[in-house]
Amino acid sequence: MTDLCFLTIAEASRQIAARKLSPVELTRAFLERIERYDAGLNAYILVTADKAMADARRAEAEIMAGRSRGPLHGIPIALKDIYNTAGIATTAHSALFKDHVPAEDAVTTRLLAEAGTVLLGKTATWEFAIGGTSFDLPWPPARNPWNPKHDPGGSSSGTGAAVAAGLAMAGMGTDTGGSIRFPAAWCGIAGLKPTYGLVSRRGILPLSFSLDHGGPMCWTSEDCALMMQALAAHDPLDPGSADVPIPDFAAALSPSLKGLRIGVPRHFWETDVDCGAETKAAIEAALEVYRALGAEIVEVTLSPLGTYNDTGTLISRSEAYAIHEQYLTRTPELYGAIARQRISMGALVRAPDYVNALRLRGELIRELAAVMTTVDVIVTPTTPDPAPLLGEVAAFMSKRKSLFSRAFNVTGSPALSTPSGFSSDGLPLSMQIVGRPFQDDLVLKVGHAYEKATAWRDRRPVIAEPFAAAAQ
């Protein structure tokens, strides 16, 4: 059964299309694995077993009747618990929304259902996608499948853990400062923050209107491409949604990168941030792989990473506070301490500072656009170090240990995290690939080519039986 749970979407969909694999059998395998292991990982807040089996039976009947909906038909997925699901609780991992049952699906929830996916359940998240690894909430925090004593990253922590552990074939995260790429990095999977506007946010609980993105988290970049084909669509009721042609994401994937120009803002990890030696070595090795694939490596210079981060922090805290103000002033006790503190920071931001952050954001977008006329993509690490112990993220991260992700929420660029190796103690290392707006297909191609040229995608976490048993 475990073997089925470690198939990629691409592999499983080929077998399903050839009628060698039944969506019902596949879904049952995932539900059994969740039952066996999730008590030790806490990836799920809610497992929707009955719905999953009903979805799977429907998919199987349609496929057997010759009515295939495409490569996601019959694929078991999970949704971060801030994606609205009609009739199914959507809690944001918070006591405040413990009993919140939406009447309608998020647009993305609907699109994935229409593509024939099977919903396994709702996954753990940092509270309201901001709260950090918290122990004062109605549900425990997710753990890292590579070592459950370690943190999975966040805020899409449960989706990252579930996909890495083979408890979902794919899932959805959201990303306001790195919340798809960060857990993807620490859990050793691929995660795409699409271009701002390419994927609707309607029906996803907001954190920061101008920085929020929804996107896929999968074992491979190829699987992210298959998910994006269902997700990318203009939504006239999301004012941030762009009405642009949707590429064939999977068709764009190829192993050759001949002629590709990769920009490397080395100052990000050499001077702007205290980046770990193993992460630095992994990114240099990855650049060598890209050279061997035919790419040209070009040094580029951007504003210091801290400038992007400060800009993003002022905007995200202000917008988050505006969203939460009514709840925070009325029922602050229903928030966990970390979320309450982080969101309340917005009450301390002066209006001119918010406006100046928006002004600077425009300059940073223009700066990056100018650099990207000289290169096709930019490559950086995703995080400065592999995962620390569970609950030590806040102490571990600092201005000198910041993620490399927030900069590209500020610019709205497509940005992918994919594994770049392992630390000496067996935890995933990662890199980030950033593209021009709406060149998400090229970003996925660059990630896919690297994954095919290296063996990192062949290694899966081994979840020790005693741990799973002891935790039950």
Partner: protein, 58 residues
Amino acid sequence: MADLSVDRQLAAAGLKLPPGDVEKLAALAADLAAAAATVRRDWSYLTEPVQALRLWKK
């Protein structure tokens, strides 16, 4: 509000937070002040590009 202490700013915003939160926010306020200094450039509306929010599309 820069001349007000953090607890007075929070009270002015209508936030009634536990003492631990106020203490934490007082520390985080330094980060916000540093961020504000970063974005406080020598802005000039005489030279900068037009700043606008796109309100509608044709």
